[in-house]
Protein backbone atom coordinates (compact mmCIF):
# COMPACT_ATOMS: atom_id res chain seq x y z
CA UNK A 1 0.00 0.00 0.00
CA UNK A 2 1.41 3.38 -0.91
CA UNK A 3 2.06 5.83 1.88
CA UNK A 4 -0.26 8.37 0.30
CA UNK A 5 -3.14 5.93 0.56
CA UNK A 6 -2.18 5.21 4.12
CA UNK A 7 -2.38 8.88 4.93
CA UNK A 8 -5.85 9.13 3.49
CA UNK A 9 -7.00 6.17 5.52
CA UNK A 10 -5.56 7.67 8.67
CA UNK A 11 -6.88 11.17 8.21
CA UNK A 12 -9.55 11.51 10.91
CA UNK A 13 -13.03 11.96 9.49
CA UNK A 14 -15.82 13.60 11.41
CA UNK A 15 -17.97 10.94 13.06
CA UNK A 16 -20.48 13.47 14.37
CA UNK A 17 -21.26 16.75 12.68
CA UNK A 18 -23.31 19.56 14.11
CA UNK A 19 -24.51 22.26 11.75
CA UNK A 20 -26.00 25.39 13.27
CA UNK A 21 -27.68 23.51 16.10
CA UNK A 22 -30.10 25.30 18.42
CA UNK A 23 -31.94 24.04 21.49
CA UNK A 24 -34.65 26.14 23.05
CA UNK A 25 -36.67 25.38 26.17
CA UNK A 26 -39.67 27.70 26.06
CA UNK A 27 -38.09 31.16 26.32
CA UNK A 28 -34.65 29.90 27.24
CA UNK A 29 -32.06 29.15 24.56
CA UNK A 30 -29.62 26.60 25.97
CA UNK A 31 -27.67 25.97 22.80
CA UNK A 32 -27.43 28.81 20.37
CA UNK A 33 -26.12 27.98 16.91
CA UNK A 34 -23.32 25.46 17.36
CA UNK A 35 -21.45 24.06 14.40
CA UNK A 36 -18.89 21.45 15.26
CA UNK A 37 -17.10 18.49 13.72
CA UNK A 38 -16.26 15.71 16.12
CA UNK A 39 -13.49 13.63 14.60
CA UNK A 40 -13.46 9.85 14.63
CA UNK A 41 -11.32 8.63 17.53
CA UNK A 42 -10.59 11.99 19.10
CA UNK A 43 -10.93 13.00 22.73
CA UNK A 44 -12.92 16.21 22.63
CA UNK A 45 -13.65 18.08 25.82
CA UNK A 46 -16.31 20.74 26.05
CA UNK A 47 -15.63 23.12 28.92
CA UNK A 48 -17.67 25.99 30.15
CA UNK A 49 -19.21 27.40 33.32
CA UNK A 50 -22.49 25.98 34.62
CA UNK A 51 -25.41 27.04 32.47
CA UNK A 52 -23.30 27.41 29.34
CA UNK A 53 -25.34 24.71 27.60
CA UNK A 54 -22.74 21.96 27.54
CA UNK A 55 -24.96 19.32 29.14
CA UNK A 56 -27.75 20.11 26.68
CA UNK A 57 -25.26 19.76 23.84
CA UNK A 58 -24.22 16.36 25.16
CA UNK A 59 -27.81 15.20 25.60
CA UNK A 60 -28.51 16.10 21.97
CA UNK A 61 -25.53 13.97 20.90
CA UNK A 62 -26.86 11.11 23.04
CA UNK A 63 -30.35 11.42 21.56
CA UNK A 64 -32.07 12.44 24.79
CA UNK A 65 -33.00 15.83 23.42
CA UNK A 66 -33.82 16.71 19.83
CA UNK A 67 -32.40 19.95 18.45
CA UNK A 68 -34.91 22.77 17.94
CA UNK A 69 -33.04 23.83 14.83
CA UNK A 70 -30.07 22.71 12.78
CA UNK A 71 -28.76 19.27 11.96
CA UNK A 72 -26.78 16.55 13.66
CA UNK A 73 -25.31 13.89 11.42
CA UNK A 74 -23.54 10.67 12.26
CA UNK A 75 -21.14 9.54 9.54
CA UNK A 76 -23.09 11.71 7.14
CA UNK A 77 -26.52 10.44 8.13
CA UNK A 78 -29.04 12.80 9.70
CA UNK A 79 -29.83 11.61 13.24
CA UNK A 80 -31.78 14.56 14.67
CA UNK A 81 -34.71 12.38 15.64
CA UNK A 82 -33.03 9.02 16.11
CA UNK A 83 -33.74 8.06 19.74
CA UNK A 84 -30.99 7.30 22.25
CA UNK A 85 -31.56 3.55 22.17
CA UNK A 86 -30.81 3.39 18.45
CA UNK A 87 -27.64 5.48 18.50
CA UNK A 88 -24.13 4.05 18.71
CA UNK A 89 -23.47 6.50 21.53
CA UNK A 90 -23.39 5.91 25.25
CA UNK A 91 -23.60 8.51 27.96
CA UNK A 92 -21.80 8.17 31.28
CA UNK A 93 -23.95 10.23 33.63
CA UNK A 94 -22.73 12.61 36.27
CA UNK A 95 -24.53 10.44 38.82
CA UNK A 96 -23.25 7.35 36.94
CA UNK A 97 -26.82 5.93 37.04
CA UNK A 98 -25.69 2.48 38.14
CA UNK A 99 -28.58 0.12 38.83
CA UNK A 100 -28.56 -0.11 42.64
CA UNK A 101 -30.39 -3.44 42.85
CA UNK A 102 -27.95 -5.21 40.58
CA UNK A 103 -24.49 -6.57 41.19
CA UNK A 104 -21.37 -5.19 39.52
CA UNK A 105 -21.56 -8.04 37.01
CA UNK A 106 -25.27 -7.53 36.28
CA UNK A 107 -24.69 -3.83 35.75
CA UNK A 108 -21.94 -4.45 33.22
CA UNK A 109 -23.96 -7.16 31.49
CA UNK A 110 -27.09 -5.02 31.18
CA UNK A 111 -26.56 -3.89 27.55
CA UNK A 112 -25.68 -7.48 26.62
CA UNK A 113 -28.84 -8.79 28.26
CA UNK A 114 -30.80 -6.26 26.21
CA UNK A 115 -29.29 -7.83 23.09
CA UNK A 116 -30.16 -11.33 24.42
CA UNK A 117 -26.54 -12.47 24.56
CA UNK A 118 -26.42 -15.88 26.30
CA UNK A 119 -25.46 -15.74 30.03
CA UNK A 120 -22.13 -17.57 29.67
CA UNK A 121 -20.96 -15.17 26.97
CA UNK A 122 -22.19 -12.20 28.98
CA UNK A 123 -20.19 -13.26 32.00
CA UNK A 124 -17.08 -13.81 29.92
CA UNK A 125 -17.33 -10.30 28.48
CA UNK A 126 -18.05 -8.78 31.90
CA UNK A 127 -14.95 -10.39 33.39
CA UNK A 128 -12.93 -9.16 30.42
CA UNK A 129 -14.16 -5.63 31.04
CA UNK A 130 -13.43 -5.88 34.77
CA UNK A 131 -9.84 -6.72 33.90
CA UNK A 132 -9.66 -3.92 31.35
CA UNK A 133 -10.80 -1.43 34.00
CA UNK A 134 -8.42 -2.80 36.61
CA UNK A 135 -11.13 -4.15 38.90
CA UNK A 136 -10.66 -7.54 40.57
CA UNK A 137 -12.74 -10.34 39.05
CA UNK A 138 -14.12 -11.09 42.51
CA UNK A 139 -16.16 -7.90 42.12
CA UNK A 140 -18.40 -9.66 39.62
CA UNK A 141 -20.92 -10.66 42.31
CA UNK A 142 -20.48 -7.59 44.50
CA UNK A 143 -23.32 -5.23 45.32
CA UNK A 144 -22.61 -2.17 43.23
CA UNK A 145 -23.66 0.19 46.03
CA UNK A 146 -20.93 -1.26 48.25
CA UNK A 147 -18.23 -0.09 45.83
CA UNK A 148 -16.16 3.03 46.48
CA UNK A 149 -16.50 6.16 44.35
CA UNK A 150 -13.61 5.26 42.06
CA UNK A 151 -14.81 1.68 41.67
CA UNK A 152 -18.33 2.81 40.77
CA UNK A 153 -16.76 5.05 38.16
CA UNK A 154 -15.00 2.07 36.63
CA UNK A 155 -18.15 -0.07 36.73
CA UNK A 156 -20.05 2.68 34.88
CA UNK A 157 -17.29 2.79 32.27
CA UNK A 158 -17.30 -0.99 31.93
CA UNK A 159 -21.06 -0.94 31.39
CA UNK A 160 -20.68 1.72 28.70
CA UNK A 161 -17.97 -0.34 27.00
CA UNK A 162 -20.17 -3.44 27.16
CA UNK A 163 -22.64 -1.56 24.94
CA UNK A 164 -19.73 -1.15 22.51
CA UNK A 165 -20.64 2.35 21.32
CA UNK A 166 -18.68 4.25 18.69
CA UNK A 167 -18.88 7.43 20.73
CA UNK A 168 -18.69 7.65 24.51
CA UNK A 169 -20.19 10.75 26.06
CA UNK A 170 -19.22 11.87 29.55
CA UNK A 171 -21.20 14.28 31.68
CA UNK A 172 -18.72 15.45 34.34
CA UNK A 173 -18.32 11.95 35.74
CA UNK A 174 -15.38 12.89 37.97
CA UNK A 175 -16.84 16.01 39.54
CA UNK A 176 -17.95 14.31 42.77
CA UNK A 177 -14.64 12.58 43.51
CA UNK A 178 -11.81 13.78 45.71
CA UNK A 179 -8.81 15.46 44.16
CA UNK A 180 -6.33 12.61 44.36
CA UNK A 181 -8.67 10.02 42.86
CA UNK A 182 -9.66 12.49 40.17
CA UNK A 183 -6.02 12.87 39.11
CA UNK A 184 -5.63 9.08 38.84
CA UNK A 185 -8.87 8.57 36.91
CA UNK A 186 -8.14 11.41 34.49
CA UNK A 187 -5.03 9.60 33.33
CA UNK A 188 -6.79 6.23 33.29
CA UNK A 189 -9.53 7.67 31.14
CA UNK A 190 -7.02 9.02 28.68
CA UNK A 191 -5.24 5.64 28.58
CA UNK A 192 -8.59 3.94 28.05
CA UNK A 193 -9.26 6.29 25.15
CA UNK A 194 -5.96 5.32 23.60
CA UNK A 195 -6.53 1.57 24.16
CA UNK A 196 -10.08 1.51 22.85
CA UNK A 197 -9.66 3.90 19.92
CA UNK A 198 -13.22 5.12 20.46
CA UNK A 199 -14.38 8.70 20.19
CA UNK A 200 -14.75 10.39 23.57
CA UNK A 201 -16.77 13.54 24.10
CA UNK A 202 -16.30 14.79 27.62
CA UNK A 203 -17.85 17.76 29.32
CA UNK A 204 -16.53 19.41 32.43
CA UNK A 205 -16.23 22.79 34.05
CA UNK A 206 -12.74 21.92 35.22
CA UNK A 207 -9.93 23.35 33.16
CA UNK A 208 -7.45 20.93 34.69
CA UNK A 209 -9.40 17.86 33.59
CA UNK A 210 -9.72 19.27 30.10
CA UNK A 211 -6.02 20.05 29.85
CA UNK A 212 -4.88 16.60 31.00
CA UNK A 213 -7.10 14.47 28.80
CA UNK A 214 -8.15 16.19 25.62
CA UNK A 215 -6.95 16.14 22.05
CA UNK A 216 -9.10 19.19 21.48
CA UNK A 217 -10.98 21.51 23.78
CA UNK A 218 -14.10 23.46 22.89
CA UNK A 219 -14.90 26.34 25.21
CA UNK A 220 -18.58 27.12 25.61
CA UNK A 221 -20.19 30.25 26.91
CA UNK A 222 -23.87 31.19 26.82
CA UNK A 223 -24.79 28.41 24.39
CA UNK A 224 -22.03 29.12 21.91
CA UNK A 225 -18.60 27.69 21.26
CA UNK A 226 -16.24 30.61 21.71
CA UNK A 227 -13.01 28.83 20.87
CA UNK A 228 -11.92 25.37 19.83
CA UNK A 229 -8.43 23.96 19.50
CA UNK A 230 -5.69 21.92 21.13
CA UNK A 231 -5.19 22.44 24.88
CA UNK A 232 -1.91 24.21 24.17
CA UNK A 233 -3.37 26.63 21.66
CA UNK A 234 -6.30 27.50 23.89
CA UNK A 235 -4.07 28.01 26.87
CA UNK A 236 -1.41 30.01 25.09
CA UNK A 237 -3.52 31.86 22.54
CA UNK A 238 -6.95 32.53 23.95
CA UNK A 239 -9.02 34.64 21.60
CA UNK A 240 -11.15 36.35 24.19
CA UNK A 241 -10.84 37.57 27.72
CA UNK A 242 -13.46 34.99 28.78
CA UNK A 243 -11.37 32.10 27.49
CA UNK A 244 -8.19 33.52 28.98
CA UNK A 245 -9.73 33.92 32.40
CA UNK A 246 -11.48 30.58 32.27
CA UNK A 247 -8.14 28.90 31.74
CA UNK A 248 -6.35 30.04 34.84
CA UNK A 249 -5.17 33.20 36.47
CA UNK A 250 -4.24 36.15 34.33
CA UNK A 251 -2.87 39.65 34.73
CA UNK A 252 -5.03 42.14 32.87
CA UNK A 253 -3.94 45.60 31.81
CA UNK A 254 -6.50 47.92 30.23
CA UNK A 255 -4.71 49.79 27.44
CA UNK A 256 -5.43 52.92 25.49
CA UNK A 257 -3.73 54.17 22.36
CA UNK A 258 -2.09 57.47 23.24
CA UNK A 259 -1.29 59.72 20.24
CA UNK A 260 2.22 60.42 21.55
CA UNK A 261 3.27 57.41 23.56
CA UNK A 262 1.46 54.68 21.56
CA UNK A 263 -0.14 51.82 23.52
CA UNK A 264 -0.17 52.88 27.12
CA UNK A 265 -1.17 51.27 30.40
CA UNK A 266 -2.68 53.77 32.81
CA UNK A 267 -2.44 51.28 35.69
CA UNK A 268 1.31 51.05 35.60
CA UNK A 269 1.89 54.42 33.94
CA UNK A 270 4.02 52.88 31.19
CA UNK A 271 4.11 52.41 27.46
CA UNK A 272 3.61 48.82 26.35
CA UNK A 273 5.20 46.95 23.51
CA UNK A 274 2.74 44.47 22.07
CA UNK A 275 1.77 42.47 19.02
CA UNK A 276 -1.67 43.56 17.92
CA UNK A 277 -3.91 40.96 16.28
CA UNK A 278 -5.33 41.90 12.87
CA UNK A 279 -8.81 42.24 14.27
CA UNK A 280 -7.75 45.07 16.57
CA UNK A 281 -5.61 47.05 14.11
CA UNK A 282 -7.74 50.17 14.22
CA UNK A 283 -8.75 49.95 17.88
CA UNK A 284 -8.16 52.79 20.32
CA UNK A 285 -8.47 50.62 23.43
CA UNK A 286 -7.67 47.00 24.27
CA UNK A 287 -6.96 44.65 27.13
CA UNK A 288 -3.51 43.17 27.51
CA UNK A 289 -3.50 39.73 29.14
CA UNK A 290 -0.35 38.11 30.51
CA UNK A 291 -0.34 34.80 32.33
CA UNK A 292 1.65 34.81 35.60
CA UNK A 293 4.00 32.10 34.36
CA UNK A 294 5.04 34.22 31.36
CA UNK A 295 6.23 36.95 33.69
CA UNK A 296 9.75 36.96 35.07
CA UNK A 297 11.86 38.99 37.47
CA UNK A 298 14.13 41.21 35.39
CA UNK A 299 17.68 42.15 36.32
CA UNK A 300 17.90 44.94 33.72
CA UNK A 301 15.22 47.24 32.26
CA UNK A 302 15.95 46.01 28.72
CA UNK A 303 15.96 42.28 29.49
CA UNK A 304 12.36 41.90 28.24
CA UNK A 305 10.15 43.78 25.80
CA UNK A 306 8.25 45.20 28.74
CA UNK A 307 9.56 45.85 32.24
CA UNK A 308 7.70 47.43 35.12
CA UNK A 309 8.78 48.21 38.65
CA UNK A 310 7.08 47.31 41.87
CA UNK A 311 7.56 45.86 45.32
CA UNK A 312 6.95 42.29 46.43
CA UNK A 313 3.78 42.17 48.51
CA UNK A 314 3.43 38.44 49.15
CA UNK A 315 4.47 34.99 48.00
CA UNK A 316 2.40 31.84 47.59
CA UNK A 317 3.89 28.38 47.34
CA UNK A 318 2.19 26.20 44.71
CA UNK A 319 4.30 23.09 45.20
CA UNK A 320 6.68 22.92 42.27
CA UNK A 321 6.05 26.59 41.50
CA UNK A 322 5.99 29.80 43.48
CA UNK A 323 3.71 32.72 42.86
CA UNK A 324 4.55 36.28 43.87
CA UNK A 325 2.20 39.19 44.14
CA UNK A 326 4.00 42.37 43.12
CA UNK A 327 2.40 45.75 43.68
CA UNK A 328 3.13 48.34 41.02
CA UNK A 329 1.48 51.37 42.52
CA UNK A 330 -2.22 50.50 42.85
CA UNK A 331 -1.94 47.58 40.45
CA UNK A 332 -1.13 44.11 41.73
CA UNK A 333 0.55 41.72 39.32
CA UNK A 334 1.04 37.97 39.71
CA UNK A 335 4.28 36.28 38.71
CA UNK A 336 4.68 32.54 38.76
CA UNK A 337 8.09 30.88 38.47
CA UNK A 338 9.39 27.34 38.92
CA UNK A 339 10.73 26.70 42.40
CA UNK A 340 14.10 25.81 40.89
CA UNK A 341 14.35 29.33 39.44
CA UNK A 342 12.99 31.01 42.53
CA UNK A 343 15.04 33.95 43.63
CA UNK A 344 14.77 35.07 47.16
CA UNK A 345 12.43 37.96 46.81
CA UNK A 346 12.01 39.37 50.28
CA UNK A 347 8.71 40.99 51.08
CA UNK A 348 8.65 44.70 50.25
CA UNK A 349 11.77 44.34 48.12
CA UNK A 350 11.85 46.60 45.06
CA UNK A 351 11.88 44.49 41.91
CA UNK A 352 11.56 44.74 38.14
CA UNK A 353 9.27 42.33 36.37
CA UNK A 354 9.07 41.80 32.65
CA UNK A 355 7.52 39.86 29.82
CA UNK A 356 7.97 39.55 26.10
CA UNK A 357 5.37 40.80 23.65
CA UNK A 358 5.11 37.31 22.11
CA UNK A 359 3.97 35.80 25.43
CA UNK A 360 1.15 38.25 25.98
CA UNK A 361 -2.12 38.43 24.14
CA UNK A 362 -4.38 41.29 23.36
CA UNK A 363 -8.15 41.04 23.58
CA UNK A 364 -10.91 43.52 22.83
CA UNK A 365 -11.34 46.11 25.53
Amino acid sequence: MSSALNDVAKAPLPILQLVDVYKRFNEFTAVSGISLNILDGEFLTVVGPSGSGKTTLLRMLAGMEAPSDGNITLRGELINNVPAKQRPTCLVFQSLALFPHKTVGENIEFPLKVKSVPPAQRKERALELLRMLRLPESYYGKNVMKCSGGEKQRVALARAFAYDPDVLLFDEPLSALDYKLKKVLEKELKDLHRESGKTFVYITHSLEEAMVMSDRIAVMSAGKIVQIGTPESIYARPETEFVAEFFGEVNKFPLVRDPERGWFSADTDSAVTLTLPDSLQGAQAATLIVRPEYMRFASAPDEFDNVIRGSVFNEYSLGSRIQYQVRCGEKSVLIEIPRTLARDAALDQQVMIGWNAADAFVAEA
Binding site: K85, C90, H101, P111
Partner: protein
Protein backbone atom coordinates in the same frame (compact mmCIF):
# COMPACT_ATOMS: atom_id res chain seq x y z
CA UNK B 1 -23.74 15.06 88.77
CA UNK B 2 -24.00 14.65 85.06
CA UNK B 3 -24.42 10.91 85.24
CA UNK B 4 -27.10 11.25 87.89
CA UNK B 5 -29.04 13.62 85.71
CA UNK B 6 -28.61 11.23 82.82
CA UNK B 7 -29.86 8.28 84.84
CA UNK B 8 -32.87 10.27 85.95
CA UNK B 9 -33.77 11.39 82.43
CA UNK B 10 -33.37 7.84 81.13
CA UNK B 11 -35.66 6.61 83.87
CA UNK B 12 -38.31 9.13 82.85
CA UNK B 13 -38.02 8.28 79.18
CA UNK B 14 -38.40 4.55 79.90
CA UNK B 15 -41.32 5.01 82.28
CA UNK B 16 -43.11 7.21 79.78
CA UNK B 17 -42.56 4.74 76.97
CA UNK B 18 -43.87 1.93 79.17
CA UNK B 19 -46.93 3.98 80.10
CA UNK B 20 -47.73 4.74 76.45
CA UNK B 21 -47.38 1.08 75.51
CA UNK B 22 -49.60 -0.02 78.36
CA UNK B 23 -52.22 2.56 77.49
CA UNK B 24 -52.30 1.29 73.90
CA UNK B 25 -52.15 -2.44 74.50
CA UNK B 26 -53.99 -2.93 77.77
CA UNK B 27 -57.49 -2.65 76.26
CA UNK B 28 -56.56 -5.17 73.56
CA UNK B 29 -55.23 -7.53 76.22
CA UNK B 30 -58.46 -7.10 78.19
CA UNK B 31 -60.63 -8.09 75.25
CA UNK B 32 -58.34 -11.04 74.60
CA UNK B 33 -58.80 -12.13 78.21
CA UNK B 34 -62.56 -11.74 77.91
CA UNK B 35 -62.54 -14.24 75.06
CA UNK B 36 -60.70 -16.73 77.25
CA UNK B 37 -63.24 -16.58 80.06
CA UNK B 38 -65.50 -19.52 80.78
CA UNK B 39 -68.35 -17.17 81.71
CA UNK B 40 -71.13 -16.35 79.27
CA UNK B 41 -71.03 -12.70 80.31
CA UNK B 42 -68.35 -10.10 80.30
CA UNK B 43 -67.02 -10.02 83.86
CA UNK B 44 -63.75 -8.58 84.95
CA UNK B 45 -61.42 -9.79 86.43
CA UNK B 46 -61.83 -13.15 84.75
CA UNK B 47 -62.60 -15.87 87.34
CA UNK B 48 -62.09 -19.02 85.30
CA UNK B 49 -60.18 -19.37 82.05
CA UNK B 50 -61.15 -21.72 79.25
CA UNK B 51 -60.73 -22.19 75.51
CA UNK B 52 -64.40 -23.05 75.04
CA UNK B 53 -65.36 -19.87 73.24
CA UNK B 54 -62.36 -20.05 70.94
CA UNK B 55 -63.43 -23.57 69.97
CA UNK B 56 -67.00 -22.53 69.37
CA UNK B 57 -65.86 -19.56 67.33
CA UNK B 58 -63.69 -21.72 65.12
CA UNK B 59 -66.49 -24.23 64.65
CA UNK B 60 -69.18 -21.66 63.91
CA UNK B 61 -70.45 -21.69 60.31
CA UNK B 62 -71.57 -18.11 60.65
CA UNK B 63 -68.06 -17.00 61.59
CA UNK B 64 -66.59 -18.98 58.71
CA UNK B 65 -68.79 -17.11 56.26
CA UNK B 66 -67.79 -13.81 57.83
CA UNK B 67 -64.10 -14.55 57.63
CA UNK B 68 -64.53 -15.73 54.06
CA UNK B 69 -66.30 -12.49 53.16
CA UNK B 70 -63.66 -10.37 54.87
CA UNK B 71 -60.79 -12.21 53.23
CA UNK B 72 -62.38 -12.09 49.79
CA UNK B 73 -63.04 -8.38 50.09
CA UNK B 74 -59.57 -7.67 51.46
CA UNK B 75 -57.81 -9.72 48.77
CA UNK B 76 -59.79 -8.13 45.94
CA UNK B 77 -59.22 -4.66 47.39
CA UNK B 78 -55.49 -5.39 47.71
CA UNK B 79 -55.17 -6.63 44.16
CA UNK B 80 -57.15 -3.85 42.51
CA UNK B 81 -55.81 -1.03 44.69
CA UNK B 82 -52.16 -2.01 44.15
CA UNK B 83 -52.70 -2.20 40.42
CA UNK B 84 -54.40 1.20 40.28
CA UNK B 85 -52.11 2.80 42.85
CA UNK B 86 -48.89 1.63 41.18
CA UNK B 87 -49.62 3.57 38.00
CA UNK B 88 -51.31 6.29 40.01
CA UNK B 89 -48.13 6.68 42.07
CA UNK B 90 -46.02 7.00 38.92
CA UNK B 91 -48.34 9.78 37.76
CA UNK B 92 -48.23 11.23 41.27
CA UNK B 93 -44.49 11.28 41.84
CA UNK B 94 -42.58 10.42 38.69
CA UNK B 95 -43.91 12.31 35.72
CA UNK B 96 -44.41 16.00 35.19
CA UNK B 97 -47.70 16.63 33.46
CA UNK B 98 -50.30 19.31 33.15
CA UNK B 99 -52.82 18.98 35.97
CA UNK B 100 -50.52 16.93 38.19
CA UNK B 101 -50.96 19.31 41.12
CA UNK B 102 -54.74 19.10 40.85
CA UNK B 103 -54.57 15.32 40.53
CA UNK B 104 -52.46 15.10 43.68
CA UNK B 105 -54.99 17.13 45.65
CA UNK B 106 -58.08 15.38 44.32
CA UNK B 107 -56.56 12.00 44.98
CA UNK B 108 -55.93 12.76 48.64
CA UNK B 109 -59.37 14.20 49.29
CA UNK B 110 -61.19 10.90 50.09
CA UNK B 111 -58.70 10.23 52.92
CA UNK B 112 -59.85 13.37 54.71
CA UNK B 113 -63.53 12.52 54.28
CA UNK B 114 -65.04 11.01 57.46
CA UNK B 115 -65.61 7.40 56.48
CA UNK B 116 -69.17 7.41 57.78
CA UNK B 117 -69.99 10.26 55.40
CA UNK B 118 -68.18 8.56 52.57
CA UNK B 119 -70.10 5.34 53.23
CA UNK B 120 -73.42 7.14 53.25
CA UNK B 121 -72.58 8.95 50.03
CA UNK B 122 -71.65 5.69 48.33
CA UNK B 123 -74.82 4.01 49.56
CA UNK B 124 -76.92 6.86 48.15
CA UNK B 125 -75.16 6.51 44.83
CA UNK B 126 -75.72 2.78 44.68
CA UNK B 127 -79.34 3.32 45.49
CA UNK B 128 -79.66 5.87 42.72
CA UNK B 129 -77.99 3.49 40.27
CA UNK B 130 -80.19 0.61 41.40
CA UNK B 131 -77.35 -1.59 42.61
CA UNK B 132 -78.11 -3.93 45.52
CA UNK B 133 -75.43 -3.56 48.20
CA UNK B 134 -73.42 -6.72 48.87
CA UNK B 135 -69.81 -7.59 49.61
CA UNK B 136 -69.06 -6.66 45.99
CA UNK B 137 -70.18 -3.10 46.50
CA UNK B 138 -68.15 -3.06 49.73
CA UNK B 139 -65.07 -3.76 47.60
CA UNK B 140 -65.81 -0.65 45.54
CA UNK B 141 -66.39 1.40 48.71
CA UNK B 142 -63.13 0.21 50.27
CA UNK B 143 -61.28 1.06 47.07
CA UNK B 144 -62.48 4.67 47.17
CA UNK B 145 -60.78 5.12 50.51
CA UNK B 146 -57.85 2.71 50.21
CA UNK B 147 -56.55 3.49 46.69
CA UNK B 148 -55.44 6.99 47.77
CA UNK B 149 -53.64 5.58 50.81
CA UNK B 150 -51.85 2.92 48.78
CA UNK B 151 -51.00 5.48 46.10
CA UNK B 152 -49.32 7.60 48.75
CA UNK B 153 -47.41 4.65 50.18
CA UNK B 154 -46.08 3.64 46.75
CA UNK B 155 -45.45 7.29 45.79
CA UNK B 156 -43.00 7.57 48.69
CA UNK B 157 -40.93 4.83 47.07
CA UNK B 158 -41.30 6.45 43.65
CA UNK B 159 -40.00 9.76 45.02
CA UNK B 160 -36.76 8.09 46.07
CA UNK B 161 -36.43 6.46 42.65
CA UNK B 162 -33.86 8.04 40.36
CA UNK B 163 -35.38 8.54 36.91
CA UNK B 164 -31.94 8.85 35.30
CA UNK B 165 -31.69 5.08 35.72
CA UNK B 166 -34.38 4.69 33.07
CA UNK B 167 -32.64 7.19 30.84
CA UNK B 168 -29.40 5.26 31.22
CA UNK B 169 -31.18 2.00 30.41
CA UNK B 170 -32.71 3.51 27.25
CA UNK B 171 -29.29 4.78 26.27
CA UNK B 172 -27.95 1.23 26.63
CA UNK B 173 -30.53 0.08 24.09
CA UNK B 174 -33.30 -1.21 26.35
CA UNK B 175 -36.99 -1.00 25.40
CA UNK B 176 -39.85 0.11 27.63
CA UNK B 177 -41.00 -3.32 28.70
CA UNK B 178 -37.49 -4.52 29.43
CA UNK B 179 -36.82 -1.44 31.56
CA UNK B 180 -40.09 -1.90 33.41
CA UNK B 181 -39.22 -5.51 34.20
CA UNK B 182 -35.52 -5.02 34.96
CA UNK B 183 -35.35 -1.58 36.56
CA UNK B 184 -38.64 0.06 37.52
CA UNK B 185 -40.47 -2.89 39.05
CA UNK B 186 -37.59 -4.34 41.11
CA UNK B 187 -36.73 -0.92 42.52
CA UNK B 188 -40.33 -0.20 43.46
CA UNK B 189 -41.01 -3.65 44.98
CA UNK B 190 -40.62 -2.58 48.63
CA UNK B 191 -43.15 0.20 48.06
CA UNK B 192 -45.57 -2.13 46.28
CA UNK B 193 -45.30 -4.64 49.13
CA UNK B 194 -45.92 -2.03 51.80
CA UNK B 195 -48.85 -0.73 49.75
CA UNK B 196 -50.36 -4.21 49.42
CA UNK B 197 -49.98 -4.78 53.15
CA UNK B 198 -51.66 -1.49 53.94
CA UNK B 199 -54.48 -2.26 51.52
CA UNK B 200 -55.18 -5.66 53.02
CA UNK B 201 -55.05 -4.53 56.63
CA UNK B 202 -57.10 -1.39 56.08
CA UNK B 203 -59.78 -3.37 54.26
CA UNK B 204 -59.68 -6.21 56.79
CA UNK B 205 -60.30 -3.86 59.69
CA UNK B 206 -62.67 -1.43 57.99
CA UNK B 207 -66.00 -1.03 59.72
CA UNK B 208 -67.82 2.19 58.67
CA UNK B 209 -67.64 1.62 54.90
CA UNK B 210 -68.67 -2.04 55.22
CA UNK B 211 -71.54 -1.11 57.51
CA UNK B 212 -73.07 1.16 54.88
CA UNK B 213 -72.19 -0.62 51.67
CA UNK B 214 -72.02 -4.40 52.31
CA UNK B 215 -75.79 -4.73 52.48
CA UNK B 216 -76.91 -8.07 53.88
CA UNK B 217 -73.38 -9.51 53.72
CA UNK B 218 -71.40 -9.21 56.89
CA UNK B 219 -67.70 -8.83 57.48
CA UNK B 220 -65.74 -9.48 60.66
CA UNK B 221 -65.80 -5.89 62.02
CA UNK B 222 -69.45 -5.48 61.05
CA UNK B 223 -70.44 -8.68 62.86
CA UNK B 224 -68.42 -7.74 65.95
CA UNK B 225 -70.31 -4.47 66.14
CA UNK B 226 -73.76 -5.94 65.60
CA UNK B 227 -73.15 -8.59 68.25
CA UNK B 228 -72.05 -5.92 70.73
CA UNK B 229 -75.25 -4.01 70.08
CA UNK B 230 -77.44 -7.03 70.54
CA UNK B 231 -76.62 -10.60 71.54
CA UNK B 232 -73.20 -10.46 73.16
CA UNK B 233 -71.33 -13.71 73.35
CA UNK B 234 -67.64 -14.23 74.28
CA UNK B 235 -67.20 -15.23 70.62
CA UNK B 236 -67.01 -11.49 69.99
CA UNK B 237 -63.75 -10.92 71.91
CA UNK B 238 -62.49 -14.32 70.75
CA UNK B 239 -62.99 -13.49 67.07
CA UNK B 240 -61.69 -9.98 67.72
CA UNK B 241 -58.50 -11.42 69.16
CA UNK B 242 -58.10 -13.88 66.29
CA UNK B 243 -58.62 -11.10 63.80
CA UNK B 244 -56.02 -8.90 65.54
CA UNK B 245 -53.53 -11.75 65.79
CA UNK B 246 -53.86 -12.71 62.13
CA UNK B 247 -53.48 -9.09 61.05
CA UNK B 248 -50.38 -8.77 63.25
CA UNK B 249 -48.83 -11.94 61.87
CA UNK B 250 -49.56 -10.82 58.33
CA UNK B 251 -47.81 -7.55 59.14
CA UNK B 252 -44.80 -9.41 60.52
CA UNK B 253 -44.73 -11.67 57.45
CA UNK B 254 -44.91 -8.67 55.14
CA UNK B 255 -42.16 -6.95 57.09
CA UNK B 256 -40.02 -10.04 56.78
CA UNK B 257 -40.55 -10.19 53.01
CA UNK B 258 -39.53 -6.54 52.63
CA UNK B 259 -36.48 -7.15 54.83
CA UNK B 260 -35.49 -10.11 52.64
CA UNK B 261 -35.84 -7.99 49.48
CA UNK B 262 -33.66 -5.30 51.04
CA UNK B 263 -31.07 -7.77 52.30
CA UNK B 264 -30.80 -9.54 48.97
CA UNK B 265 -30.16 -6.17 47.40
CA UNK B 266 -27.39 -5.38 49.86
CA UNK B 267 -25.59 -8.68 49.47
Amino acid sequence: MRTQAKIRSEFFIRSWAAFVLIAIYLPIVCSALAGLSKSRYFLFPVRQFSLDWWQRTLASLEVQTLVQNSITVALLVTLISVLLAFFGALAFARYEWKGRKLYQKLLLLPIFFPQAVLGLALLLWMNALGITPSWRTAVVAHLVWIVPVVTLVIAIQVYSYDATLEEAAIDLGAGRLFIFKEITLPLLWPGIWSGALFAFLLSWGNFPLSLYTAGADSTVPKWLYSKMVAGYTPMVPALGTMSTLSAASLLLLGGAVIAVIRRRRQK
